[in-house]
Symmetry: D2
Subunit: 405 residues, 4 copies
C-alpha cells in the first residue's frame, strides 16, 4: 500500500497518531495532521499511523484517501497499539467518554472532538481520567477548533491585553440553516441518544466555549428557551455523510432541539446572550460574536473568518469606528507560517493550528488548552441551559463544584 506521512522526519521524534472516525471531522483532522509539519516548525513529527472505523472496507478506503498508514476496525485494538501515542476521537458524542478514558488509561495522549461528552457525568469522568493521566505525563485536549481561527486568537489577545477595558456585553450566535427543509432526514445529529442534544451541543457548545475563552471567565448562570420546530422527519435511507443526507418515506421523532436561545451573566458583571440554531435561512455558518467593553469592542463572523472588527473607544469620536483588521499579517497568531498578507486562510486551517499547539504541548509536557476541564465547563453550561429551559427559563446558576480526582 501507499506509504504516506507515516515516517518521521530525520532527527525529529515521531508521534504516532490513531484516529477514531473518518467522516466530516475525521477528514478535517486528517488534513490538519497531514499539513501541520509542512507549514510549521514542529518539535515532534506526527505520523498518521492508523484510522479506525467499524466497516472494514470503508475504513481501509478512508485510510487510503486520507493518508493513514493502516486501518483498524476496533478502537480497542487501536488503543492497544504500541506505535500509537495519541488517540484522536472524531466519533459522535455518545462514545467519547468510553474511548477517551480507555485511551488515557492505556497511556495515550488524547484529542477529543467537541462537545466533550453528552452528559456532565461523562465529562466529569473524562476530566478525572485526564487528571490521572496528566500526573503520568500525558495530555488531553478537547477540539474546540475555533479557538484557533487566527482572528479569534487575536481577539483573545486583545481582551487579555485590556484593549476592551471592562466587558459589558458578550453576544454570540451560531446560525446555520441546513434543517430549514422539513424533508431533511433524521440523521444521528437529530437523535438525542447519539448526539446528546441538537443545535445546543453542536453549535451552542462552540459559542459557550468561545465566550468563556474570550472573556477569560466561566459563565455564571443562564436563562434559556429551546425549541424543536420540526418534530418529525424522514428516516434515513442508508448512510449520511457530513451535513447532507437523503431520507425515505418513513418518519421518526426528532429528539433534540432545533434551536436554543439563552441569556446569561459572567461573574465580573457582563451580560451575555447566546443563540444556536439550524433554522436561520441564508446563514450557512454564521458564528458571530460581539464584545463590548468600556474601552473598546470587537466583532467577528465566521463566514468572514479572516477578519476581526475592532472599535477603539479611547480614540477621538470624530475619527473612530469599527475597523476591519485583515488577520493575515505575519505578526498575527499562526500567520508567521502561512502566506503573504491578504492571502486568506480557510476553515480547515483551524485543525492545522490545533495539531500544532497540541504537538508543542506534548513536546514541552504542558497542558494544552482547551483542556478536558474546559470541555466540562462548557458541558455544565449546556446542562444549565437544558435545566433552565425545562424550568420555565428561570435563571440557573452553572455548577462549579470542583471535580474530585
Amino acid at each position: 500500500m501507499r506509504e504516506t506521512e507515516h515516517e518521521a522526519e530525520p532527527g525529529k521524534r515521531p508521534l504516532g497518531v490513531g484516529m477514531v472516525g473518518y467522516a466530516f471531522m475525521g477528514a478535517a483532522h486528517s488534513q490538519g495532521w497531514r499539513t501541520v509539519g509542512r507549514v510549521f516548525d514542529l518539535p515532534l513529527q506526527p505520523v498518521l499511523s492508523a484510522v479506525c472505523g467499524r466497516d472494514g472496507a470503508a475504513v481501509r478506503a478512508a485510510a487510503d484517501r486520507l493518508g493513514w498508514a493502516s486501518a483498524e476496525t476496533d478502537w480497542r485494538a487501536l488503543v492497544a497499539r504500541d506505535d500509537i501515542d495519541l488517540i484522536d476521537i472524531c466519533t459522535p458524542g455518545d462514545s467519547h467518554a468510553e474511548i477517551a478514558i480507555a485511551a488515557l488509561d492505556a497511556g495515550k495522549h488524547v484529542l477529543c472532538e467537541k462537545p466533550l461528552a453528552n452528559t456532565v457525568e461523562e465529562a466529569e469522568a473524562m476530566v478525572e481520567a485526564a487528571e490521572r493521566a496528566r500526573a503520568r505525563g500525558q495530555v488531553a485536549m478537547v477540539g474546540f477548533n475555533y479557538r484557533r481561527v487566527p482572528a479569534l486568537a487575536l481577539a483573545r489577545q486583545m481582551v487579555a491585553d485590556g484593549r476592551l477595558g471592562t466587558l459589558r456585553h458578550v453576544r454570540l450566535s451560531y446560525l446555520q440553516d441546513w434543517l430549514v427543509d422539513p424533508a431533511f432526514p433524521l440523521t444521528w445529529r437529530l437523535r438525542k441518544d447519539r448526539a446528546g442534544s441538537g443545535a445546543l451541543g453542536d453549535l451552542g457548545a462552540h459559542i459557550v466555549d468561545l465566550a468563556q475563552y474570550l472573556v477569560g471567565e466561566p459563565v455564571a448562570g443562564v436563562s434559556a428557551l429551546t425549541e424543536t420546530f420540526v418534530r418529525e422527519r424522514p428516516l434515513l435511507d442508508g448512510a449520511s455523510s457530513g451535513l447532507t443526507a437523503e431520507g425515505g418515506t418513513a418518519t421518526g421523532q426528532v429528539t433534540v432541539d432545533d434551536a436554543a436561545v439563552f441569556t446569561g451573566r459572567f461573574p465580573s458583571g457582563a451580560l451575555a446572550s447566546f443563540e444556536a440554531t439550524r433554522f436561520a435561512a441564508g446563514r450557512k455558518n454564521a458564528l458571530r460574536l460581539e464584545l463590548n467593553g468600556s474601552d473598546g469592542s470587537l466583532a467577528f463572523d465566521l463566514e468572514r473568518l479572516n477578519e476581526l472588527s475592532f472599535h477603539d473607544h479611547t480614540e477621538p469620536a470624530t475619527s473612530s469606528g469599527f475597523r476591519r483588521i485583515l488577520v493575515t499579517e505575519p505578526g498575527h497568531p499562526y500567520l508567521e507560517a502561512w502566506w503573504p498578507p491578504g492571502h486568506g486562510l480557510g476553515y480547515e486551517h483551524t485543525f492545522v493550528h490545533q495539531a500544532r499547539d497540541l504537538l508543542h504541548a506534548i513536546a514541552t509536557d504542558a497542558q494544552p488548552e482547551p483542556s478536558f476541564a474546559a470541555g466540562l465547563s462548557v458541558q455544565r453550561v449546556l446542562a444549565a441551559v437544558e435545566e433552565s429551559a425545562e424550568k420555565n427559563s428561570v435563571y440557573t446558576p452553572v455548577a462549579s463544584t470542583p471535580v474530585t480526582v
Copy 2:
C-alpha cells in the same frame, strides 16, 4: 413675528397642530410637520400653530427657530385653543398620560411620542380615552417612528406577502453607547420618575414595537435580565439637550436600567431575542433586526437605514444569498415623493412619513397605526420584562386582557 407654515394652502382644509415639548423630539417632529406638505400630496394642510413649554423665553425662541406661529407656556392653554386640532406630545414619558387624556377629552387628535406611558396603568387609561375619542371621530397615534423607515415598511410588506414563510427566529437589538463614559451626567433619561425605565423603555420599546409590527402578532411571553452597570453619576449642571450633557461634581443614583437582554416567544411559535443597551461601545444607533422564516430571511441595521437585506430561500442554493435592497426606488414605501434611486433618506424623514400617514388617517376618519392600543401592547411587554427580571428571569406571559372601555 415671522409667519411660517401656519396658513393653509388654498383649497385645502387646514389642521392646526400644537406641539408640547421642543427638545430633540420636538425638533424632529417640527421638521416633519414643516416638510410633509412640500413633498407629499396631502388631504389636509398642517398648520404649525403653537409650541408649548414651561420657559417662556425659551419656548418663544424655539417657536421662531422651528417655525411655529405662536408659543404657549401651559399645555392646558394649548389644549384649550380653538385653532388647534391636534396635540403632538414630545415630552418625557411621565406627562404623556395626563396631556394625552386631557387633549382627547377636549376633542383634539393626539400624536404621542413613544413610549406611550411610563406604566401599564397609564397606558390603559390612555387607550380608554382614545377609544372614547375615536367614537367621536378623533384619532390617537403613538410615535413609533421607525415603522416609517421605508426599509422597515418594506420589510413588513414582505412578511405580510408571505415572502418569509413561517417565521422561526426574530432577533432585534438596539445598541447605543452614550453611557459608556461614567462621567456622563444624570439626565432625566436616567431617572425612573421621569423616564419610567432606561434602555428598556427608550430603546427596548422601539424594538418590541417593531417586532410586533413585523411579525404581525404580540409577544406571548418573555424571560429577561436587566443591569445597571454604572449606578452613580454626576448630577446635571443646568440644562441638557438631546443625548449630550455635562455634569458637575455632586453625584446621584441612576434609577433605571442601562441594558436589558430578553428572550421571548410569539404565539405562532417563533423564538425571539431582544437586547437594548446604551453600553455598546462604537454602536451609535444600531437598531438591528433579523427575521428567519421557512422561505426567507430579512436583516436590517438602522445605521444603514436605506438598505434592507433579503435572502430568498426558495431560490437555488447556488445562486442565493442575502441581497442588499437599496430602498430608494419609486415603488418603495414613501419613496414616490422623494429623490431618484440611490439618493438616500435620513433619520428625520421618518417624522415626515409619520405626519403624512396621520394626516391621511384624519382626513379619511381611519384609525392610524400604531394606535394607543399598540402602544399599550408594547408597554405590557416592557412590564413583563421588568417582572421577569425581578423574578429570576422566569418566563413571564405578557398580559393580554382586553382593555375595558
Copy 3:
C-alpha cells in the same frame, strides 16, 4: 395665497432668493432654502421670494408646493426684481451662462447648479462675470453639493491635515443604471444641445470636482475613452421629471456619451482613475472614491453617505485596517446642528449645508467655494476628456491659462 418662509426672522437681515427651474434640482434646492434656518444659526435670513419657469400654471403650482412666495415666467423679470438678492439657477446647462452673467451684471449673488456650463468658453465668460461682480461685493458659487456631504467634508479635512501623507492613488467612479433599459426615452439629459454631454458632464463633473477638492490640486492631464452604448432611443412623450420618464414609438439619436472612463495625473504625482456611467446595472447612485497615500487611505460610497472609511497606515500592522467612521458625531462637519450620533442624514442635506455656507459667505463678504473658477477648472478637465477621447485617448494636458478679467 399661502405665505411661507418669505418673511425674515426679527433682527436678521433678509436675503431674497429667486430660483430658476423647479424640477429635481429645484425641489432639492427648495428643501435646502426652507430648512437651513430651522437648523443652523444663520447670519442672514433666506426668503424664498420667487421661483421662475416658462409654464405659468406649472410654476405657480410649484411655488405653492415648494414654498416660494411668488412665481415668474421670465427669468429676466426675476433678475430685475428689487426684492431678490440671489439668483439660484437650477436649469439645464445650456442656459446657465446667459442667466448667471445677466444676474451677476444686475448685481445679484448667484448660485449655479453644476456643471457650471456646457462649454469652456461659456464657463470662462461666467468666471469673468463673477470676478467683475466680486469686485462689487457679490459672490458666485457653483452647486457641487457633494462637497457638503459631511463624510466628504471630513475627508477633505483629513487630507489637508496630512493624515494620508503623500497621495499615490485617487480613484473615483460614479455609477448609475437608469439607462440600462434601451426603452428609456430621449430626455434632455441625452441631448448634447441641452446637456452638453452625458454621463461625463452629469456624473463625471461631480467626481472631477471632488477629486480636485479632496486632493487640493487641479488634474494635470487625462487620457480618456467614451462610449454611447445605446445610440437610438424613443422620443419623449410629454414631460419628463427627474430621472424617470416614458417614451413613445418614434426614436431619435442619443447625442451624448453613456459612459466615460479616464485616467489622469495630478501635479504632485498621484495617479488618478475616473469612471462615469449610467450603465452599471444595480448601482443606483454609487459615487465611490478611494484615496491612497503614504500614511493612510480613505474610501467612500455615496450609497452609504453617512460613512467614511479610513485606514491609518502609521498604526501597527497587526491592529490596523479600514475603519468605518459613522460621520454623525457632533464634532463632524455640519453635524453640530443635526441629530444625535448614528441618526443619519440623507441626500437632501447637502443642499441645506450648501445654503448655510453660501449665506455665511455672503454675510462675511467672503468667496464661497466652489467658486465659478472651480467650476471652470472642472469644465476644462471635461473638455480635455472629450479631446483625448477624440484623439485616440492620447494623454491631454488640462488647460490652465489663467482667466483674463
Copy 4:
C-alpha cells in the same frame, strides 16, 4: 529520508512531478500537489518526485519540509529524469521560457507560473513549443490560479450562461500595499531583468487574464499610465522570501513600475478599466472586479474570496439588489469535495484545484486552460500597456497575429 506522497495509490497511474523553485509559489504549489489526492477523486496519482533549486542544502531542506522525495540542483537534470512526467515551474519570469521549452521538448507536461514570460517573444516561443508538444500528447498550462477561486469559476459560469446579458463595463483592480514603505528593499520583483515588469506583470497579469477569462474575449486595445513612485530602494541584505525582506544601507534603482492604470475595450463593445498597484495603503490583496451587463452585474474581492456578489437586473426593482452568494455550496465549482456550506476555503485551495484540473486534462488528453496561448494573450496586453504608456497613453491595439508554429 522521509518518504512522502511519492508512491501512487494502488490501481492509479502515477504521475511524477518535478518542481523548479520552492519559495512562495513553490510552497503553494506543493500544498496543492500534496492535498489534491486527499480531497478529490483523481484519474492520476501525482507523486512529488523532486524539487529543484541551485542551493543544495536549501533545496534538500525544502524537499523535506514540503514533502518532495528528492532534490535536484540543476533543472536540466530534473528535466532529464525518467520518473518525472510533469515539470512545474515556480521560478521568476526570466527563466520560464528556457525551462518550459526544454521540458516540453524533453517530452514532459509543463505547468508554468504566471506571467508566462517576461516578453512577448519568449511567450511566443513557449506557445510554439507547447503546440509542438501538444501534437505529441503533452499538455502545457500557465498558472493563473485565480481562475480556480470557486467564486470566480462561478462568475465565469454565470457570464457564459448569459445571466449578465450584454457586457457594458469590466472593471478590475489588484491593490496591494507592500511597497508603501520606501525602506522596503530592492528584491528581485523590483528588477526588470528578473521580473520583466512590476505591478503590471505581477498583479496586472492576473487581472488581465481574469478579465479575458470572464468576458470570454481578448482585450482589443488599451490606453495606459504607469508610474514608479519610489525610484531608489535599499539593496537587499541576503535572501528574501516571499513578499517580506530587509534591506541594507546601499541603494539601487527600481527598474519596474510601482503601479499601472489602464483602460481598454473589448471587441464586443464593453469598456474596461484596470489598475494594478503595490501602493494602496491598507489593501493587502484586493483583487476586485465588477462586471456590468444589460441583465445583471457581478462583483468580487479576493480579500473575501468565498463570496460573489450578484445583481439580477431582470428582477423587479423593488426587491432587487446585490446579493452575497457564499460560494461554499456543494453545487458550486470544486465545492463537492470540501466542507459543508459556509466553511470557507482559502488562498491555497486555488492550487489544489489547479492541480486537479491539470491532472484531469492529462488523463483525458485534453488541453488544460489557461493554455500557453492564453498566457501569451495576456503578455500581449501587457506589452500593449507598456507601449501605450511610452507613447503618451495613446490607445494601442493588442496584437493578435496568430502564432506561427
